[in-house]
């Protein structure tokens, strides 16, 4: 099953987290498999295919570094435990979060 989904309709969560606006991409972490199936059947979300990080413009070096933590595509980055990855790669968490934001913006564009 895909791990990233694009909101085709606005989605509101029962657990009170921020609603997913149309066009946003999210891993839907915490949503049950049945919940995801219901959303897909409703046409509210669609799975997103995840490009490898090395094809993002200017990301050749970043992709090489992240590969050491087995993060190779956008999906891997957006679903990773960033604090753990920052510790493993000995990089700043802020920089990693910024990279994840960039990747998210790229895939949402």
């Amino acid at each position: 099953m895909a791990k990233l989904y694009r909101a085709i309709e606005r989605v509101t969560f029962a657990d009170g987290r921020r609603s997913l606006e149309m066009g946003e991409v999210d891993s839907l972490k915490g949503v049950t498999k049945k919940g995801i199936q219901v959303l897909m059947k409703k046409g509210a979300i669609a799975p997103v295919s995840s490009p490898p990080l090395k094809i993002l413009p200017g990301w050749e070096r970043k992709a090489e570094v992240l590969k050491e933590a087995k993060i190779e595509d956008v999906e891997d980055l957006l679903t990773a435990d960033l604090p753990e990855v920052a510790k493993e790669l000995e990089v700043s968490l802020e920089g990693l979060e910024e990279a994840a934001d960039q990747a998210r913006q790229w895939i949402e564009a």
Partner: protein
Amino acid sequence: MPRTTEALSFVAADVEVSQDGITWVDLSCYGTSIAVTGGDRGTGEINVFCDERPIVRAGKKASQDLTIRYAYTEEVTGPFEQMRNWDDAVGGQIYARYWPAGRVAGNFVFETGRAIITSFQDPGGEAGSGDPVLGEIVVKTEELTKSVWVS
């Protein structure tokens, strides 16, 4: 084209209100009706000498009002007491949301976002009537947003 089989009634709707958008009060077992008004788009028009028809242009949309009627009770933690306190608070802030087809994953939910209580009616009634007393609250919102609900 054959008539739709997807029409639904409002009998199984759910409705909730909140003062902060975080902690919600379920009104579903008190609520009796929800009415939505407003949201009309303004228009402007002029006539010119050479043509009988007007020139019509679109303006902006107006705010929307949500009127919720519910069974009045005197429970200490009942919705009447809670919403009356919210109406008394400065600004009368409130959030409201409702599911026409019920609070089930995959159904639509309509949300006011941060809204304002514009009217809160204390109870009234008639001597001869056996009808349960109703309370009414009117909420003004910039717009009702529609989302798909997921649990």
